[in-house]
């Protein structure tokens, strides 16, 4: 019978599990995000650098292609921690651009017309809501960060002479864990900007500003005051420092691991707090 003829009937059948309900939100958020053409275009663009790196790995591991070249050239083609760190630097910038485009559309539409009360009057907690929204962004950012990074590492392992993997396994760990840390930070920034800024363009600019302007300020503070605590507000440098440690490479000059960890912990906590302040079903005037 047609729906309009049948009339409303109260549903009394079996309900889905709690986990299935939670997955509705990332699915919906992913639908929103993937519906933006510019996001799709940027994902396509983000494949260029990993493809070039893959080509580089291929060339580097086929010695017959560059036989007769000098020792310096061989050194240039070496695949090591610095190669993967460079790859991570480029992809991390692309991931920030992606978060600036996709992040603002995640929470702002729910907050814009006081829709949060509708979510929280259902069996969903604030933490679950935030994690569900974050999952959509994490999935998107994973596509341009650790997934291609891991693919490149595995490609290198399969092509490189025996022993390379044993010698460079920390690089693989750096690619996966370093990118996980990065994705978590970028997703938090994307969500926080979406929760605090209603206008999409400004929210996107806030994401870019957080990473690039704040990093610039951090560098300026260090240079002008001849201090090191400017690193505490520099997300790019702090993350890069952590990746270097994970990959077994040398830390950038002036940066220590405790400073990097402290900076990341501070940023994560502040962003989580900003989200917590905003994701409330009702605004209580105290």
């Amino acid at each position: 019978m047609a729906v309009y003829k049948r009339g409303y009937q109260r549903y009394e059948g079996p309900r889905t599990s709690h986990m299935a309900r939670l997955l509705v939100m990332p699915r919906e958020a992913w639908r929103r995000v993937s519906g933006q053409r510019i996001v799709t275009a940027l994902i396509a663009v983000s494949c260029i650098w990993p493809l070039l790196c893959a080509l580089f790995i291929y060339v580097s591991n086929h010695t017959e292609l560059w036989a007769g070249m000098g020792g310096d050239f061989r050194k240039l083609l070496a695949i090591d921690a610095s190669f993967f760190l460079t790859f991570m630097k480029v992809q991390s910038v692309i991931s920030v651009l992606l978060a600036a485009l996709a992040g603002p559309g995640l929470i702002a539409p729910d907050l814009g017309n006081q829709g949060l009360g509708l979510y929280f009057s259902r069996p969903i907690s604030r933490l679950e809501y935030a994690l569900a929204k974050m999952a959509a962004l994490v999935w998107l950012l994973s596509l341009v960060t650790w997934v291609p990074g891991l693919a490149l590492f595995l490609m290198q392992v399969s092509m490189a002479p025996a022993g390379w993997a044993a010698e460079h396994w920390t690089v693989g760990a750096a690619v996966v864990f370093g990118f996980w840390q990065w994705v978590a930070l970028v997703a938090l920034v994307g969500l926080a900007s979406s929760a605090w800024v209603r206008w999409r363009l400004i929210a996107g600019a806030a994401v870019l500003g957080y990473f690039f302007v704040l990093s610039g300020i951090g560098v300026l503070v260090n240079a002008i005051f001849r201090v090191e605590w400017g690193d505490l507000i520099n997300p790019l440098r702090a993350s890069y420092g952590l990746w270097c440690v994970l990959a077994g490479a040398e830390l950038p000059r002036g940066l220590s691991l405790p400073t990097a960890l402290l900076a990341l912990a501070l940023m994560g906590s502040l962003l989580a707090l900003a989200l917590e302040r905003r994701l409330r079903p009702v605004e209580v005037v105290r």
Partner: protein, 329 residues
């Protein structure tokens, strides 16, 4: 013993440093009976705070609140699985179409995907938004958005629906439609409904039970039908002339009366007293009768009395207690 829909035990809720609910205790409704409960009170009485506490938005700082047998604090998820909530304020996701919105809300409440879609269509037709279901919510009029909010509250077939000011801002025909939908919810679909409203006429039309809050305290709780039965018929008498001795004359005939304002009296007559005799009594006092009406209290009068803005009809306090005792409240 039947399960109450809402059970409050010495409930205290504090927002910031201000205590909003001061030890509210009561049992509202009977689970599975399809009754509507009206939540009344002036602005700032604590109605919205009470509703939000039931939804788990605010945590009680003392006492206990149970909904359908589950504790709002410790079993929040179980409570919310059984509730549908229509907020007072405009709440929607502007970029979603009506169908998408209801499908997502239904799925979040535990409807399987295909059923959520089916119920979304069904519910939108039910509330009168069938033709507009593929339009984005941002393009809906105020009345349509109100209906969409109602639709999202019932799409998953909850046991209890909480409606916060459901007829606010609706034109007369939309208001009638909303009240009819509320009546259907309880009578045809067996849902318990809590209606929080300032519009007493709306509450009177659809509710079986009312709870009146004032300054964070419950000042009245009654089964409306029992209240109406117990509410003694009284005579509203308006006279012209010096009515200084009328009270004593009425009491000498066994009537109980309240002098409301100069020339205006509310009189409860003894069973054997014919209202016609009042004319003679007034004439004997040299008064001319301007108006004589026999009636019972309206909900508005019950509300005004609970607020202390109107004097009780003589003998009413006792009758009200009897009503409460026999109304199973």
């Amino acid at each position: 013993m039947s399960q109450p829909v809402v059970e409050l035990e010495d409930l205290h809720v504090t927002l910031g440093r201000r205590e909003i609910l001061h030890g509210v205790s009561c049992r509202l409704g009977v689970s599975g009976r399809g009754r509507a409960i009206g939540l009344l009170g002036p602005n700032g009485a604590g109605k919205s705070t009470l509703i939000r506490t039931l939804l788990g938005f605010h945590e009680p700082c003392g006492g206990r609140a149970r909904v359908l047998g589950f504790d709002c604090r410790t079993e929040r998820r179980r409570v919310l699985e059984r509730i549908g909530y229509m907020p007072e304020t405009d709440s929607f996701i502007a970029s979603m179409t009506g169908v998408e919105f209801l499908r997502v809300m239904g799925a979040l409440s535990g409807l399987p995907d295909e059923i959520a879609l089916e119920k979304a269509h069904e519910t939108l037709f039910h509330v009168g938004l069938g033709e507009a279901r593929y339009r984005t919510l941002g393009t809906y009029s105020l009345g349509m958005r109100q209906m969409a909010r109602l639709a999202q509250a019932i799409v998953h077939g909850p046991e209890l629906v909480i409606l916060d000011e459901p007829t606010n801002g609706l034109d007369p025909s939309a208001r009638r439609r909303m009240l009819e939908l509320i009546r259907q919810m309880k009578e045809e679909h067996g849902m318990s409904v809590i209606v929080c409203s300032h519009l007493l006429a709306d509450v009177e039309q659809v509710c079986d039970e009312v709870m009146i809050l004032k300054d964070g305290r419950m000042v009245h709780h009654a089964d409306l039908e029992a209240e109406r039965r117990a509410n003694r018929r009284f005579v509203e008498l308006e006279v012209e002339g010096d009515d200084g001795a009328l009270g004593a004359a009425l009491e000498s005939h066994g009537a109980a009366c309240v002098h409301e304002s100069p020339g205006r009296w509310r009189v409860v007559l003894p069973p054997d007293f014919d209202a016609g005799q009042l004319w003679k009594l007034a004439a004997s006092q040299g008064l001319s009768v301007r108006r004589l009406t026999q009636r019972r209290d309206t909900l508005e009068e019950i509300f005004m009395k609970a607020m202390g803005l109107m004097r009780q009809t003589p003998g009413e306090a006792v009758a009200s207690e009897e009503a409460a005792a026999h109304g199973g409240l």
